[in-house]
């Protein structure tokens, strides 16, 4: 309860104690304010695992905000980053000291586009829980209600990818796909046990080919891109009306309006409490979505995929929208035909916030390498992005786009102890995570077979406990 209370301001539910179940009305008189709906009915129960005070010394430290320290030190204690500095940093009594010469220390990688748990391994029909493709607008569904915490993909993302937090999104069949959830990459028995405490919800929206294909093939709207936008606008008109009704009720009281889960999510967006992550490939479509957002008074936190972001990077910069991008995916459908390897570098160079994302259970294991490819393509195009700046694509920019940068995403004193020690330069194909801490707890250690997670599904199966 304390944990839930701590996050309420973020979610805008001021009176948590008065949480109601759907449909209840009150007769509290015209001038007394209405009762607030519980905005957090599935609260995080995540609790950090214990860690030991640890000093990593002699490493190259990339702090995730563009800083770099050669022969640097990082002290983790009490689940937090305690201090970051040079060789002068000393270990407190009883701390573990790791001599990390030749290795790199970074903040944990944050993947803002994952379907782990919703499209888990094995990818069977029974496990396919990522697209509620029954209506073009399903903002009422929540990705967390599909997450299978036993997906072996979480453990691979940890051990091979150094991923310490991730956003699980619904799929892109729908214009409004539903709410996303941000997870700590610490498998638990329940999804609540993985939820990033206090992380805002996201709303997955989608442009382009997917919604028009899924519904067009059923002979229903939308069948075209113009149908996509019309449907989106109609839905926002409903949301505005719903928001107004509830604003009035919360201010003036009276008869409680009927609850609508879909509209509750959209209301959260209009109130700035839920962040829009918009799947869009083409430059022209992204520009239209920016106008839609202005028309209805909400903000887009990120364009996801943004294969043509490089064509409108100035627009993204001017509107404060991050591009969550791939290093080199292209051409698998028409809206990705103009994908280029320089997309991330060009978009970054234009001053927009850029993020390397995966959308893939394999790609999430190699996001550091994807960033390396993006740096290399940029350098060949005359854009020199340093390693330390490129790491912002992997930790601080993702954290900013998810609204959790005050707690993670960089190596700064007081932030969560989400830290990766790499066994070499993480921009090399030859490098792997050596150790990974989440909230100061050592959860992967390449040298320790005991610190190699095995999901329920893998127990007793061929290859159980393998390095993977």
């Amino acid at each position: 309860m304390m944990r839930a209370a701590a996050r309420t301001p973020l979610l805008g539910a001021a009176v948590l104690a008065a949480a109601l179940v759907g449909g209840c009305a009150t007769d509290s008189g015209p001038k007394s304010p209405g009762i607030r709906i519980n905005a957090d009915p599935y609260p995080s129960t995540y609790a950090a695992y214990p860690g030991a005070p640890t000093l990593i010394r002699g490493a190259t430290v990339l702090d995730g905000e563009g800083g770099r320290i050669e022969n640097g030190s990082v002290l983790i204690a009490g689940g937090k980053v305690e201090a970051v500095g040079g060789p002068e940093l000393v270990a407190p009594a009883g701390a573990i000291t790791i001599e990390a010469q030749g290795r790199y220390v970074t903040p944990g990688i944050i993947d803002v586009h994952s379907h782990l748990g919703d499209y888990p391994s094995p990818g069977t029909q029974s496990h396919s829980d990522g697209n509620e493709a029954t209506s073009p607008a399903r903002p009422e569904v929540w990705a967390e209600h599909s997450v299978w915490p036993q997906d072996p993909g979480f453990t691979r993302a940890l051990a091979n990818g150094g991923v310490t937090a991730l956003q699980v999104l619904p799929g892109s069949a729908n214009l409004f796909g539903g709410r996303s959830v941000v997870l700590k990459n610490v498998p638990a028995r329940t999804v609540q046990g993985m939820k990033f405490p206090g992380a805002p919800y996201g709303l997955k929206m989608a442009c382009g080919e997917n919604p028009k294909r899924v519904y067009g093939s059923k002979g229903q709207m939308p069948q075209t891109r113009m149908g996509n936008i019309a449907y989106v606008r109609e839905t926002w008109i409903q949301a505005k009306a719903y928001d107004g009704k509830w604003d009035k009720y919360e201010r003036d009281g009276g008869a409680m309006p009927e609850r609508d889960l879909a509209m509750e999510t959209l209301r959260g967006v209009l109130d700035g409490e839920i962040l829009v992550h918009n799947h869009c490939y083409r430059a022209d479509e992204m520009a239209i979505m920016i106008d839609v957002a202005k028309e209805f008074g909400y903000k887009i936190a990120s364009f996801q995929h943004g294969v043509e972001a490089y064509k409108i990077a100035d627009l993204m910069r001017d509107n404060g929208i991050c591009g969550a991008l791939w290093a080199d995916w292209y051409g698998f459908k028409m809206e990705s035909y103009d994908g280029i390897n320089e997309n991330i570098a060009l978009t970054h160079n234009a001053g927009a916030c850029t993020i390397v994302h995966s959308d893939d259970a394999n790609g999430i294991q190699r996001l550091n390498q994807e960033a390396a490819k993006a740096i290399a393509a940029g350098r060949r195009a005359g854009i020199n992005v340093s390693e330390q700046v490129a790491w912002t694509w992997l930790s601080s920019n993702p954290a900013k786009s998810l609204g959790i940068f005050d707690r993670t995403g960089s190596l700064k004193a007081g932030k969560m102890g989400d830290v990766v020690l790499w066994n070499g330069n993480p921009f090399s194909a030859y490098t792997r995570p050596d150790k990974v801490w989440i909230d100061g707890a050592l959860l992967f250690d390449s040298a320790n077979p005991r610190l190699r997670p095995v999901t329920d599904f893998e127990l007793g199966q061929p290859g159980e406990g393998d390095v993977k």
Binding site: R156, F332, M334, L346, A372, A376, S428, Q461, D466, V467
Partner: protein, 463 residues
Amino acid sequence: MNRLLLLTAALLGSASPLAAQTVAITNGIVATGDGSDPVQGATVIVRNGRVTAVGQGIAVPADAEVIDASGKWVTPGIVAGFSRLGLAEVDLGADGSDDTETGGSPFSAAIDVAPAINPLASTIAVSRADGVTRAIVAPVAGRSIFGGQGAVIDTGSDMNPILRARAFQFVEMGESGAAKAGGSRASTFVLFRNALREARNLGGGGETISGRARDPQPQTDDVPYEEQQDPRLLGADIRRGDDALLNRFDAAALVPVVRGRQLLLVHVERAVDILNVLSLRREFPSLRIALVGVSEGWTVADRIAASGVWVIASALNDLPASFEMLAATQSNVGRMQRAGVKVAIGMIDDNDTRYVRNQRQYAGNLVGLSKVPGAAGVSWGEAFAMISSRPAEAVGVGREIGTLAAGRRGDVVIWSGDPLELASAPEAVWIDGVRQPLENHQSKLRDRYRSLERGVLPEVYRK
């Protein structure tokens, strides 16, 4: 470097058709692709489209164009170990751009991908710009477990992509094959046996069930390749049983397979499926088999090694993505290699049209595994061989491509650095001794949108 740039500019400005040149690439860090470590300061000579000499202290012919590759790496071109390169431009929602779909065809084994390869596809140009000079191209199985006949192609900027048509017959024998054969693996194997028996009957017998495993055949270029099908197989006088399941064209296409004159490339992942496929040679002793996928290969690596068959493996599968890959691990390739299995790397079910250029990243990752306690990595030389000579050898064209050695085709790449590293890129590419353009749709888009400043004309005028 300056010299390279000048040469590029000269070629781009030239209107004459690309032709094989005599080239001497000197002072490079040369990796020949045969599994050995790279050699510093070596020279590669290419003449008349072929490599004529490689090594240190090689004399440079007087008429050669000399390219100083000091500080650069020089290798054979990358060979895509398993791909659909050139078959599809766009996979989804782009009518007319995709020739991988054959589910509506009345034919299966008889299908030949060669005429479907579009040498001007953007995917070929993009792959070429990343140093991929050759590709093994497999059909996608449609209505049958037999997908048809795949080709080995080059990625050259010309209209002659085919190095070897009908290089192999492709068959799905795992989960995917089971679905096509009626639902189960049991139905797959009876369908397979029936088809090969029909082919054997059509081919005039000649082989009997030996009941014992045959010695593995050498899988090299020495095995004759049938350029033309035996016309007797297609004649009107061939009598067939009333219960024949294959149409005559498909059955005829399997005759070279059952006779061991055409390689059978088998997609299989699960350990028991691998063993069942290997045991097919008890009934069809002439079969020449290579396996692709093979995610659980490490669990039966000794048996694969003993069989002598080639494996073209997925490099980094480590998720139980399906029930036939529960044992998937990135140590699969390293463990198989240690056990003596002949291994190449391919992109099976991994965006095999566009990701072929990432084979070198995957190979680098296998090298990186050597540093992970408990994992099985591979050496640099072996990793590079797995994306150059090994795939070529696996499909019987190892004497033509995949290595820098006298007599091989002149497929050479000069890299800015270690080709298995993420920062490296090709600076020059030759195929059959012809210097290749590296420009493509992507590089031109990059140049068009390098600046977003509004100009005197719209962007569409920037070419």
